[in-house]
Amino acid sequence: MKNTKNNRTIKYKLYSLGALLVTLLILGFLQVNSSQYSYQISILERSAIYAVVAVSMNLLTGFTGLFSLGQAGFMAIGAYIVAILTIPVEQRASVYYVNGISPAIANLQCPFWLALIIAGLVAAGIAALMGIPVLRLKSDYLAIATLGFSEIIRAVIAAPQLDRITNGSYGLKSIPGFPNLFVAFGLCALCILLMVLLINSSYGRVFKAIREDEIAAQAMGLNLFRYKQMAFIISSFFTGIGGGLLAMFMRSIDSKTFSINLTYDILLIVVLGGIGSITGSVLGAFLVTAGREWLRFFDNPLYIGGIQIPLFRSGFRMVVFSILLMVVVLFYSRGIMGNNEFSWAGLGRLVKGIPDRFTKKKQKGDNTL
């Protein structure tokens, strides 16, 4: 009995190793032919970055039960810090051509990995300050307050008083991108891995306890505020890094990129993937980002037998997309994964279950007849 169990874990480990190898091979292939597949690569990179932010939102919403809508604000902080710290010094004059650059940051430059860490730390620091007033609030009040903070951050970034640092409404350009694909995906994977380790640690169990029942958790002697604060800070740290990665991906940013709609996009990924499931969030990020591109054919005029179908024109894609999301919210509120995680055993059961399901349906049909 024990032996077979051991065998099975070894088998699953081998599967994981295989999957990792296949991913690396695909990445290597894309890297070699990057000019040919630039469109696909950009979709995959965006998905991976959204996955980081979605997992960090899930850490807060799904695992700690704090419904925060401040993601876009923290992403903005991260993105601007990475941009300011990594734009090559010689190109700064052309980026800040309108208002000039503040002497304090004119010669400040550091490698991108350091910039990303600083971005995360600053986002975390701001989250720590923000958390003191905001985390005393509950559910929807918390959501609206964090959303408010995110708007304030955006307004501050766009303010003319900060023109010489953030370049105001002109945004920042010439941000160096990822050196290669492995760095981009490696960083995203590392962030997600760190969050997984956190969730599986004793801290993660405290977070889940708070999610299940705040009052009971408090009665068990947990310092609610401290752990909520911790979850909020850690989530913001990774959101900040996610924002920095997004800046490196987009190469040019402005404050409008980080509007409330960005938060909503991330929220929809989390909901679609399943609140409380990390693999769900990752899967959701890839599905939603790729889905937008797949649905692109809705935007083009469609001809059937020489007659143009009137519905298909620019913008229809997003309507279909939002209807799909409403359907998920209303009828599959658990999302793709619910609060389960992906496992090879689960996949095996699913594959085995498919024929069963068909036969069962048949039996049911027989009964009704």
């Binding site: 929807d140 959501a143 959303l147 408010g148 309507v319 939002s322 409403m326 209303l330 509120s333």
Partner: protein
């Protein structure tokens, strides 16, 4: 700043505040009953703007206004029916996410149907007439907005305190389950609440957009959030609170713009929100609630 400019700015602020107040009431009513931030409310307001454009294209203004009010109410009711009713017993977060989904859908639908470019809002001739009182000059709508707001609020308070359906609304907002046990048809009360909220949003939209002159698919999202803040500021569930919140917001925002901090005028709203949540989390006129285990 001379005294006349000051008065002029006050007038603008009060007028903006009146429109905000009308929308804020919609939030307060729905939140009072369903404990739901109706994120789609701002987009209902935006859709009312588009309805007006199309209604005015073929109808005289007095019929167009009636048509817009009816269509907006229908939109509000159908949103409640499709997106919120199936989730009556779901956790609060799901309903809120559904509301965000509806808002997203309405914005995308508006972009698809009417393109993302701002569309000119039709001019209702008598509303745009310029009035002069002393040194003040403003269009008629600027004077009219606060007056309409106060009339509507008076009517609404009478409705809630003097009629049977108003009593039902109060009962449902106090205690959902007990109200159901007392034989109140919850769904009917909720539908009615959404109808009233959407009606006010439509009135607010006509007043707001006549001043702004353009409508675009996202023109509802920020005013929507601001009005929610106004409702929270006044104490969610309280109608006078929502009105006062709306006016304070309108005045404060206009003051910031007049002082040259227009980029912060949006952030002001949220600063106000955070301040009130820290000092008095239930808002100015909110009732104190206690959590029970």
């Amino acid at each position: 700043m001379s005294f006349t400019t000051f008065l002029q700015q006050c007038l603008t602020g009060i007028s903006l505040g009146g429109a905000y107040a009308l929308i804020a009431i919609g939030y307060t009513l729905v939140y009072g009953i369903l404990r739901l931030i109706n994120f789609a409310h701002g987009d209902i307001f935006m859709m009312a703007g588009y309805f007006m454009i199309f209604a005015m294209a073929s109808l005289p203004w007095y019929i167009a206004i009636v048509v817009v009010l009816i269509v907006t109410v229908l939109l509000g009711i159908s949103i409640e029916h499709v997106a919120y009713r199936p989730l009556r017993n779901a956790p609060r977060m799901s309903v809120m996410i559904s509301a965000i989904g509806v808002s997203y859908l309405l914005q995308n639908l508006a972009t698809y149907l009417f393109t993302a470019l701002p569309k000119g809002y039709p001019e209702i001739p008598f509303l745009k007439k310029i009035f002069q009182i002393g040194g003040l000059s403003a269009s008629f709508v600027t004077f009219l907005t606060p007056v309409i707001t106060l009339i509507v609020v008076y009517a609404l308070i009478t409705l809630i305190h003097k009629t049977k359906i108003g009593m039902a609304m109060r009962a449902v907002s106090k205690d959902y389950d007990t109200a159901a046990l007392m034989g109140i048809k919850i769904n009917r009360v909720i539908t009615f609440t959404f109808a009233v909220g959407s009606l006010l949003a439509a009135i607010g939209s006509i007043l707001y957009f006549t001043d702004r002159m353009t409508v675009f698919p996202f023109s509802g999202s920020l005013p929507g959030l601001k009005c929610f803040v106004a409702a929270v500021f006044g104490g969610i569930g309280s109608i006078p609170g929502a009105v006062i919140g709306g006016f304070i917001l309108g005045l404060g925002e206009t003051a910031l713009v007049a002082m040259g901090y227009s980029t912060f005028s949006d952030a002001f709203t949220f600063v106000l929100l955070i301040v009130i949540l820290l000092i008095k989390p239930t808002g100015l006129f909110g009732e104190k609630t206690t959590d029970k285990v």
